[in-house]
Amino acid sequence: MPVLNGKELRIVGFLCNWCSYGGADTAGTARAGQPTDLRIIRVPCSGRIDPLFIVKALLNGADGVLVSGCHPRDCHYAAGNFYARRRLEVLKQFLPVLGIDDRRFEYTWVSASEGQRWQHVVQTFTKRIHDLGPAPKLEDPEPLLKVVDMALTSLRPLGTGQKNKLDELKAAIKAKLPELELVIGWQQGYDAARTVPLFMRTPEDVDKLVWGPFNVNNPAVYLPQYKGKKVGIVVKGCDAKSVVELLQENLINREDVTIFAMPCEGTLDMARVNQELGRYTTIDKVEYDEAGVTITADGKEHRFCMNDYAQGKCYGCTMPTAVISDTLIGTPTEVKPGPYTPPELALLDSMSLDERLAFWRGQMERCIRCYACRNACPMCVCRDYCIAESREPHWISQDDSTRDKLFFQTIHAMHLAGRCTGCGECQRACPVGIPILALRQQIARAVGQLFDGYKSGVDPEAVPPLLGYEVEEKNIHEREWK
């Protein structure tokens, strides 16, 4: 039953049963006139509203979504609206990166006695949505294929880490190996111009360990499956942040994990390296020097200087050395933090809302739902039961639609709110190179602004922001209904 076209727009309301639904009743009892667009869905508590309901509505035809719960402190369940307030504010900051105008979503607090206030809220919000007009559909715009500008300046000198003492590291690992089931590191891949994760169980395995700009994988992704077993892991700075975040959520136990670390001087962006190498059959040799590597493939030489070919995250990296470690070989490098916007986020920032919608339509069309982005993510511990492929609950259909594919990316981004350490593995793993990191970077930026510069994966004791709340939020204030 569609809305009365011409007269109404599709506005969905999520109201908590105890206060706001009661407030709407009070408005009704007082015969407080309101436009008819709003359709109210009753939920037990505003804490029950998963932000993904709102994204699902906005992506599938809703022109506006209004959420209302009890005033903070009045929640019938004590803390429901405290959690809701944080989640909904993060969602509101996240929507623009998708190309959805965040004015189309609003959350507020209305108590059961505030009938008049509810009338005012509905009238104001309905008028705002009518002013904005019907929401653009993801299929409307022509695909816009813009490319990330990787010409970046690094906060610290990038190099190939030739100075680190790999032998000392190997010795340290061999010493600890007997008491560990295995130690995870990197080894050379099927040719000299790439590395793959290495599982060291015997001293011979340890000899295969390599350290250098090709070490792109994040070994932390394997730790949750070994929870309860004694394992070791060799980490770069960004990998260590994933380990800390896993500790913060006790998905691994600190005493089970032995951490080996060395200062990292940056890693290569294999996408651009492979593109430069082009089609070749064999790698002849790879020479390392301080500033970069020279790869000779099928007799042809290719120069990869770190300043031009590093991964986006390495230019802005402020923690090249592991935040925590049991064995640190070499002296940690200090990086003075400076202004840095991740390249993917900079690209999105440079676009208007409509352009972003067109951009994501263009990008997500080629996604074939292989879920490498999810399985490469160290935080995705529930990958085997992911709601992207489940019927109980049934969030997404198996239909090959751009909207469902984009919806999965928002699921992943929202699930990472306040947890993503920016290791970039999701984007690196994407076989068709969709710049999905922009969505996670936008959420990380919003979380940073909302929670006093909170950074995930830095302090093992810190509680991830969306798993806690403050009664009085410093940076989240109720928006007036002008």
Binding site: G28, V43, A79, R87, Q119, K137, P393, H394, W395
Partner: protein
């Protein structure tokens, strides 16, 4: 699935601006709907009968009623479908009155909106599952916090009803504020005479375990199975041995101890019994003033005590009691009136509170009933009563009326005339609030028979005139001129606020409280003695200002609720609670961390760890369901699929 849809006219409330027949017609096209009809009054007896008949005739296994707010009639219709043999949770409502017909006149838009609301109700219903309430046994014992008149009444009624009562009182004696009163309005009965017997009943009732000088330290558990930690404060007297003979009180050298029971009107001894009719009639030592406990040398009371009950090394003791439900009857305190500098801010001894005046009037008080001026002990001739000191005054954050001050001031004025026949009483008031049985007649007597001069106006300043009198300057708004009274004694009718520490106790009880500390009842009109937390009831002024008859009534009301709760051997929990699908849980612990009620625990099953919901503790807020990334924990009757069904019905582009 076979769904029946019933569109209510609600007389003209809905039918006035919604074409109910059209909505029913549209509803027939919705999935699984086999019957859709409109009814004049669905909630009325014939309406409900029509639903029951339809369920039998069409073998329905789900019902949608489109009428008023589910907050009003969801329970009604659930019972209806249950009577017809259908599970009460295979039922959904669409609010087409408060949310549609009453808020707009556009019939076409309203009909379309009503249709859509019915459509999403049908969509949700198609995903609903029958739910069975689980039962759990009840510990038929009740904890009553606070032994004022309300607490005493609740305790006696529960005990009479055959229920074991654990009564906890923070002071050394029960009786609360009423025990401090000399007489009570409107009958001028002696307070101790009407309260005393009840206090004795409490002491002697076999079903009541009394913990005086004790406080509730911690409450855990849930309705039917609360576990309470009670801290018995050290009284330095072994109450089993003490007979209450009072020998120690006479001999105790620390004569300057402030007497809290007598509202600090007169001093008392470090070891004392609050008042003659105290229950339990046992001595208590005030550790801050007892010379033995402060300077380590005295021990007089230990020497004179015939039964050797004194024990200076006694420590606090924490006892755990298991109870099924709780009644909070923690009463009130007078607000700190010294914020009023204009009345001397507490610096003038002859400006006393009404409760202090009660102690002056009381025969068991420090002055044995002779009204004496605290400054020089003389008998006052001119006594001024000032009403609404710290009530109905927004400037100091006390906008509410405290309810019983007008009445006790009239009583005190009458008593003053009895005690001092040639005295003259003045009462500065704004409005006399006397709305009980023979209340107004009582205040009339104070004015006409006892010559009390009621001056309608507020007092702006009280100051000593240097000759031992207090100049009370105010205004008489009826005569429109300033008034000055040279008073010997000024009695302030000080406003009421929640007992000290109420907010802290509310947090332990997990009930909410308002900005003045009064506990929040479940519904101000219809459920005054219940709270939003199952198994926690309220009685007396802790819920809001009220006089003794109302407090006693609430005591009995709370007891009735307790007896109702315990009338069944087993309690049924609300089946709309969360449950974990072990197959999907990866034990990431997010739900355990965010549950406000600690209702989820980690369990081990075949070597792997999973989350599991404690069914009786879960309140059904659904926070865990929206926190679990993979939807392994679902709140029944509000599962992800049910809400998604509604969202997908609305947003299908």
């Amino acid at each position: 699935m076979r769904i029946g849809v019933f569109i209510c006219h609600c007389g003209s409330n809905i039918a006035g601006t919604v074409d109910c027949a059209k909505v029913a017609e549209n509803a027939r096209m919705f999935p699984d709907v086999v019957l859709a009809q409109d009814i004049m009054y669905t909630c009325a007896e014939p309406g409900q009968a029509a639903i029951e008949a339809a369920i039998h005739e069409h073998k329905l296994d789900g019902v949608v009623v489109a009428s008023c707010s589910p907050r009003i009639h969801e329970p009604t219709f659930r019972r209806t479908v249950e009577r017809a043999g259908l599970n009460r949770y295979m039922f959904e409502m669409a609010n087409i009155r408060e949310h549609v017909s009453w808020i707009g006149k556009d019939k076409e838009a309203n009909t379309n909106k009503a249709t859509e609301l019915v459509q999403i109700a049908v969509a949700k219903l198609r995903n609903d599952k029958p739910l069975k309430a689980k039962s759990f046994d009840v510990n038929k014992r009740v904890l009553i916090i606070g032994a004022g008149v309300a607490g005493i009444q609740a305790a006696l009624d529960c005990a009479e009803g055959g229920i074991q009562v654990v009564l906890v009182e923070r002071e050394a004696t029960i009786g609360g504020k009423m025990a401090k009163l000399d007489k009570t309005f409107p009958t001028v009965d002696c307070s101790a005479c009407i309260l005393g017997p009840k206090m004795v009943d409490v002491a002697q009732h076999p079903n009541i375990t009394l913990y005086a000088k004790s406080e509730v330290e911690d409450i855990s558990g849930y309705v039917g199975n609360f576990s309470i930690k009670i801290r018995k404060r050290a009284t330095y007297v072994d109450w089993d041995k003490c007979t209450g003979c009072g020998a120690c009180t006479e001999k105790c050298p620390a004569k300057k101890t402030p007497d809290a029971f007598n509202e600090l009107v007169g001093p008392t001894t470090a070891i004392n019994i609050a008042f003659p009719q105290a229950i339990p009639k046992k001595a208590v030592i005030n550790p801050e003033y007892c010379r033995q406990l402060t300077k380590g040398k005295c021990g007089v009371c230990a020497k004179v005590c015939p039964t050797g009950a004194i024990n200076y090394e006694q420590q606090d003791e924490v006892i755990t009691e298991e109870v099924g439900c709780i009644v909070a009857a923690t009463g009130y305190d007078l607000m700190d009136w010294t914020v009023y500098e204009e009345y001397g801010g507490g610096r003038y001894p002859d400006v006393v509170t009404s409760l202090q005046y009660e102690r002056l009037l009381s025969a068991s008080g420090p002055t044995e009933g002779h009204i004496k001026r605290p400054s020089d002990g003389k008998e006052p001739k001119n006594i001024v009563f000032i009403q609404c000191v710290g009530s109905r005054d927004r400037s100091i954050g006390r906008p509410y009326c405290s309810g019983f001050c007008c009445m006790y001031t009239a009583k005190q004025a009458i008593l003053t005339k009895d005690h001092i026949p040639d005295s003259k009483s003045y009462v500065f008031y704004m409005d006399i609030r006397a709305n009980g049985k023979i209340y107004d007649e009582f205040t009339r007597r104070a004015m006409e028979e006892y010559g009390t001069e009621y001056i309608r106006g507020r007092v702006s300043k009280i100051y000593p005139d240097g000759e031992g009198h207090l100049i009370v300057r105010g205004v008489d708004t009826l005569l429109g001129e300033g008034v000055e009274v040279k008073a010997d004694l000024v009695v302030l009718a000080v406003g009421v606020e929640a007992a000290k520490g109420s907010p802290h106790l509310a947090e332990k009880l997990r009930i909410s409280y308002d900005s003045y500390g009064f506990f929040l009842e479940s519904h101000v009109k219809l459920k005054p003695v219940e709270t939003n937390t199952a198994g926690v009831y309220l009685a007396g002024v802790c819920q809001g200002v009220k006089d003794i008859p109302a407090s006693v009534a609430q005591g009995s009301a709370a007891a009735a609720k307790v007896l109702g709760l315990f009338s069944r051997d087993k309690l049924e929990n609300d089946p709309q609670i969360a449950s974990v699908d072990m197959k999907r849980c990866v034990d990431c612990g997010k739900c355990i961390r965010c549950c406000p009620f600690g209702a989820i625990k980690e369990v081990e099953f075949r070597g792997k760890m999973y989350a599991q919901v404690i069914e009786t503790v879960c309140q059904g807020c659904g926070l865990c369901t929206s926190t679990c990334p993979q939807g392994a924990i679902q709140l029944s009757h509000a599962t992800d699929n049910q809400i998604l069904a509604e969202v997908n019905t609305l947003c299908q582009c």
